[in-house]
């Protein structure tokens, strides 16, 4: 059968969730079942740093049920991922082991940037709407339980993403430690948020005009639905004015009234207010005129990723371009985004393709190499000498959407090893291969004049032949290639050679 059944599990900070999906070339991705169980893992983690055994027990019971449901549907495969509450819990390895032993489910902890990238993919899955929305200046606000993510688009690719202010669970818990009345409470929340948002605005919003806000998460969905009840708008979007109306109504109600008016339970009602305040501040700061809530969830992103990896589905949106755009944007910030860097990126990519049979790396490594190439000189922003360590630190402390923690570390290491002496015992072979290619790619534009721009690369025998029709002087490049050739040969057993074709 051409249909595939897949289960996506999200071990979230507030809920355990499983979606059962059917993936078919004809109908795309279709959700056929969706289970949610509220369990506040986040509360434990943010309070004590650990998840208590009682919750682990409950979690195992629910995941065990999930496993039965998966069997019932005869799913072919599943991905289970855990987010901030598990990520930040010090005892997470023990819990993962418990879960696997007791339920057979392997849960993978994903980094914040992976998580946000997945939920971003889920949004982009709603292709028609999505492409229309991002034609104007757009920001994505994902107000989660553990943290809030703000991402910005430049034209139609995502350029920046920042994990800002604490999430609603954390805010709620902070509030519980302060004795204050409703009005005070709300202004405290505003203060906490503004503090973070102002910095974000100064750094990233200066020359952008945000018209649309894409809201992700349950709380904004509830607000939009409420707006739809009173107004004529559709159930997945609202204007600024409609938001304001719902916001004012929400702020005027007591906790019990909120439950009644919004049709939600008590625990949800308690996070609706802080989360609405966050959205309100974001809207004021960005000046967005319309909010779109695609209503997608992390599980939707997981299945999208899975379908894409298996090449069962094609997406109109180019996610690789998003990652590269984000890296380029970062390079721009550290003043290393110039023609030279573009050239190095090109060289690296071409070299990766030419060496395909010899390096044995995965397709995913190509994009990592390109990102490394884009960012190889970012440390120079801090210091020109021994900038390797600085580059490493900059990359390690900047979120690049779509990169997992280990991938980010890989990129950072490649960049560091580019600049510093290669230390054999520290780096693994994957880092070494990418470092060798990056070094050679930079060497090919030593003069910063993109002389080898149009070169062709190919392996013949033991040589990587880099042939160019450039007629000028290449001595600097050739010298540099020769300097790096040893390391390159050591890694791949192939000698890079620059050949200058003379015109007859």
């Amino acid at each position: 059968m051409a249909n595939h059944l897949f289960a996506a599990i999200d071990v979230g900070s507030f809920e355990l969730e499983m979606g059962i999906y059917e993936i078919s070339p004809k109908n795309g991705i279709r959700q056929i079942d969706h289970l949610r169980h509220v369990i506040a893992l986040g509360r434990d983690t943010y309070h004590t740093g650990k998840i208590s055994y009682r919750l682990v027990d409950e979690m195992c019971r629910v995941l065990g049920d999930f496993s039965k449901v998966m069997k019932g549907y005869k799913v072919e495969d599943y991905w289970a991922c855990a987010t901030s509450a598990m990520r930040e819990a010090v005892n997470n390895q023990i819990i993962l082991d418990q879960i696997e032993v007791r339920t057979g489910i392997k849960v993978q902890i994903i980094s914040n940037s992976e998580q946000r990238f997945l939920s971003y993919k889920a949004i982009a899955m709603k292709a028609a709407e999505f492409e229309k929305i991002i034609q104007k200046g757009t920001a994505i606000a994902d107000v989660g339980f553990g943290s809030t993510q703000l991402s910005l688009f430049d034209k139609d690719s995502l350029v920046t993403t920042q994990n800002i202010v604490p999430g609603v669970l954390k805010i709620r818990d902070t509030l519980s430690m302060i004795q204050a009345n409703r009005i005070q409470e709300n202004s405290i929340v505003e203060e906490i948020i503004d503090h973070e948002l102002i910095k974000f605005k100064k750094l990233y919003l200066r020359d952008r005009d945000i018209k649309h806000l894409i809201g992700v998460g349950d709380t904004i969905t509830i607000l939009v639905r409420k707006a739809a009840e009173s107004g004529a708008s559709t159930t997945d979007r609202m204007t600024r004015e409609q938001f304001n109306r719902v916001y004012d109504q929400l702020m005027s109600l007591s906790a019990a009234q909120i439950e009644e008016a919004f049709g939600i339970n008590e625990s949800f009602a308690s996070i609706l207010v802080p989360s609405a305040i966050i959205y309100n501040r974001i809207l004021q700061m960005t000046g967005a005129e319309m909010v779109w809530t695609p209503g997608t969830r992390l599980c939707d992103g997981v299945v999208t990723e899975y379908a894409q990896n298996n090449r069962w589905l094609k997406f109109t949106h180019d996610f690789e371009e998003d990652m590269l755009a984000a890296a380029r944007n970062m390079a721009k910030r550290y003043r290393c985004g110039n023609a030279h860097v573009l050239c190095v990126e090109n060289m690296a990519a071409r070299m990766f393709d030419a060496m395909k049979k010899y390096h044995g790396l995965a397709q995913r490594d190509r994009i990592l190499l390109r990102i490394a190439a884009i960012l190889y000189g970012c440390g120079k922003y801090v210091t020109m000498r021994e900038f390797g360590e600085c580059s490493y630190n900059i990359i390690m402390s900047t979120e690049i959407i779509g990169l997992s923690q280990s991938e980010r570390e890989l990129v950072a290491n490649v960049v560091r090893h580019y600049a510093d002496e290669y230390e054999y015992d520290e780096a693994d072979i994957r880092t070494a291969k990418l470092t060798a290619m990056l070094r050679l790619a930079v060497a090919l534009d030593t003069s910063y004049h993109q002389k080898l721009e149009g070169c062709r690369m190919g392996v013949r025998g033991d040589n990587l032949i880099i042939s160019t029709e450039y007629q000028g002087d290449l001595s600097l490049e050739i010298l540099s290639v020769n300097t790096n050739a040893g390391f390159f040969e050591e890694i791949f057993g192939i000698q890079p050679v620059v050949k200058q074709k003379r015109r007859v």
Binding site: M1, N3, S24, I32, D33, K68, V69, G72, Y73, G263
Partner: protein
């Protein structure tokens, strides 16, 4: 939700639900008194009034008594406090019982006699030959199972079982000091209550208690029998389980079942010429008030008439049995899933057969492509083929989840057995939800097909009970609409304890969303009417006693919404009251089949919406039960639903119309063709099935269809 005008919620606008229920029993009694109805059918109706009254006492009266004991004095929506209600109920019930017995003795017994069936009311009336036969019957069958019990200073007053029939007697030892003792014998429930005496051409029956009374001296051999009278008591049987404490619901209910025997006595039925000493003794021992004592002129516990209905050879005095017809959508060789894929199917039971529903589950249990079957079971019949199919499905490796509602009144014992059986077979059984009764009727079949997962759903207004489906009028929808399938999946996820779905497509679920939806639907009609647009509501329910819904209906009526209600039983609304409900009519249909379907129609300014479901307009349905109301989306099926409502509104044979003073009168038929809704539906179902048969008959089509080898 807009606030309701205070004037609509005044107590005088409402009728107490218990008194309204008694009105319903009166309407059934009226059927028993209707001479145009075949004699044996009248017996049946009388029997129903009696069994209804039993249940009414055990549950409703009992809980009112509990309230009085607990000092609960909050008035109901009609402004009556529990003790006031009990007084009114007592008065009305005594009248009802008197009418029951005058119907029995003055009308039915003579009529039976005329038709060749003699009921021996007192054993003294037996002929010699009959007496001899009865004596032998007693020796052979009755005597061995009797346990006579005498009461004296060494033996305490015996425990009298709920609803059991007993004979109380006063005895005096032949050689004693003349002291009179109380004695008692229980009429065994294991023996048939009515016994036919086959000694002559004439058909003669006698009741078991009369046979025992005739032989009392054999039981108390050295005593004189001074007086003997049968009596029957009813005990408090209301189940109120403390669910917070009930670790395991199942165990709790098993315990309660045993305890039910021992509740407080709330009613005593006894012959009207009973010896005063017996009456006094019983009253004292059972701690009864005078109002709780019903002295009747005739045999106790008229439910035996249902057995009498079953006597052979009186078919000419009964309505000829109706055979449920196949629904035309299934009259072909395609399998049930293929037929559902052709379009939604609305079944109207019992006019149309319940078989497709059973077959739906049976086919699913065998079908290799079916992954899962999920169902809610409320009241299941003994030897239910559905339960067997579910067990078979689990055996075939399918994921089977069943929610068995243990709290279905009086059926607990039955349900526990099925539940255990299913669990053994490998089904995932949920034993109800804490704090809620699951009343919804829904089945979901998940099937893996060529083009992906497809979900088939059955939604009904009646239980998955193939026996009652022949007697109750119900509707059922079979569909594979993807959005309803999604909702059905969400329902079962919620029943399994997961969070509510992010949104519902079509189904409306109580206790969380249903009340609000009904209020909104009614308010929408009110709004249309007040802006001069067409507005109409037709609703068919079993009971209507929710204060808020009624108030909303008053409001709608005042705004000019035309409202026609078909309410079988309790109706707390006052119809046709000027300034309050001029635009509301209420009718109740009491027929051979028990009206049970719930259908709702809202005109919605020319874009009508039709709903059906498991919920009545009662607080318990809207607030404390899991109920599902589903829309009828298919236009053709909407017409079928409308037809059902229209025919019921035109009924002038079995319909009783509620008057502004709270009484019900039969429809004035002058100048109209007699029309009975149930008969009409029977006729239509037969005609529809015939039409399909005729179309398929090779003689008519003039084409022979060769049968190919299957696959």
């Amino acid at each position: 939700m807009a606030e309701t005008d205070a004037r609509f919620v005044q107590p005088e606008n409402f009728v107490n639900r218990e008194l309204s229920w008694l009105e319903f029993d009166y309407r059934i009694l009226e059927e028993a008194r209707d001479k145009t109805i075949p004699l044996f059918e009248r017996l049946k109706f009388l029997s129903i009034t009696a069994s209804n009254l039993d249940e009414f006492f055990m549950v409703r009266v009992a809980s009112l008594k509990d309230m009085v004991h607990a000092g609960y004095t909050k008035p109901d929506m009609a402004g009556l406090k529990p003790d006031e209600q009990l007084v009114k109920i007592g008065e009305k019930t005594h009248e009802l019982v008197a009418l029951q017995y005058s119907t029995y003795t003055r009308s039915l017994v003579p009529a039976l006699r005329q038709n060749g069936l003699r009921i021996v009311g007192r054993h003294e009336e037996l002929t010699e030959a009959e007496g001899a036969w009865v004596d032998k019957y007693f020796q052979d069958n009755v005597y061995p199972v009797l346990t006579p019990m005498a009461v004296d200073s060494s033996r305490p007053f015996p425990l009298i079982y709920n609803k059991s029939l007993n004979i109380a007697a006063l005895i005096r030892k032949k050689d004693g000091d003349g002291e009179i003792d109380f004695a008692m014998v229980r009429v065994p429930a294991v023996l048939p209550r009515i016994i036919e005496i086959p000694v002559s051409e004439e058909r003669v029956v006698i009741l078991l208690e009369e046979i025992i009374e005739r032989h009392l001296s054999a039981l108390f051999s050295n005593c004189d029998i001074i007086a003997a009278h049968p009596f029957r008591i009813m005990r408090n049987a209301d189940l109120s389980i403390d669910e917070e404490e009930a670790e395991d619901l199942l165990k709790e209910i098993e315990k309660l079942l045993k305890r039910r025997q021992w509740g407080e006595a709330i009613r005593l039925e006894i012959e009207d010429n009973t010896d005063k000493r017996i009456l006094k003794r019983l009253k004292k021992e059972l701690k009864l008030q005078n109002a709780d004592i019903y002295q009747v002129n005739g045999p106790l516990d008229l439910t035996f008439l249902m057995k009498m209905y079953g006597l052979p050879d009186f078919e000419h005095l009964k309505v000829s049995p109706y055979h449920p017809q196949p629904n035309p959508a299934f009259m072909n060789d395609d399998d049930i899933f293929a037929n559902i894929r052709k379009g939604d199917i609305l079944l109207h039971h019992p006019y149309e057969s319940f078989d497709p529903v059973v077959k739906f589950i049976q086919t699913a249990a065998r079908d290799p492509e079916v992954l899962a079957i999920k169902q809610t079971l409320y009241r299941v019949s003994g030897n239910s083929p559905i339960v067997a199919a579910l067990a078979a499905a689990a055996d075939n490796g399918k994921q089977v989840s069943v929610l068995v509602e243990l709290k279905a009144r009086f059926d607990e014992e039955n349900n526990i057995n099925w539940a255990k059986m299913l669990e053994k077979a490998g089904c995932h059984v949920i034993y109800g939800l804490v704090g809620l009764k699951t009343h919804s009727k829904i089945t979901l079949v998940v099937r893996r097909e060529e083009d992906g997962i497809r979900r088939y759903v059955h939604l009904g207004t009646g239980n998955y009970n193939d026996s009652t489906a022949k007697l109750y009028t119900d509707c059922g929808l079979l569909t594979c609409h993807p959005q309803i399938g999604e909702d059905a999946t969400a329902v079962f996820n919620m029943l399994s304890g997961y969070s509510e779905p992010l949104h519902w497509n079509h189904l409306v679920v109580a206790p969380i969303w249903l009340r609000k939806r009904f209020v909104r639907l009614i308010e929408r009609e009110t709004h249309h009417a007040s802006t001069g647009r067409p507005a109409r509501i037709i609703a068919k329910v079993n009971s209507l006693c929710d204060r808020d819904i009624i108030a909303k209906l008053y409001e709608a009526s005042c705004a000019g919404v035309k409202i026609d209600l078909i309410v079988r039983g309790i109706c707390g609304l006052r119809a046709g009251v000027p300034g309050l409900s001029e635009n509301i009519t209420v009718r109740s249909i009491v027929g051979n089949f028990l009206e049970h379907s719930r259908i709702f129609y809202f005109e919605n300014n020319g874009m009508p919406e039709y709903y059906m479901g498991s919920a009545d307009w009662m607080p318990r349905n809207l607030d404390r039960r899991v109920e599902i109301v589903f829309p009828i989306l298919d236009v053709e099926l909407q017409q079928k639903a409308m037809h059902i409502l229209e025919v019921q509104l035109e009924d002038n044979l079995k319909a009783h119309v509620l008057q502004p003073d709270g009484s019900y009168v039969k429809v004035d038929r002058r100048g109209k063709m007699p029309l009975g809704a149930q008969d009409t539906f029977c006729g239509e179902a037969v005609a529809a099935a015939r039409a399909v048969e005729a179309r398929q008959d090779p003689v008519n089509t003039r084409v022979f269809v060769p049968v190919e080898s299957p696959n």
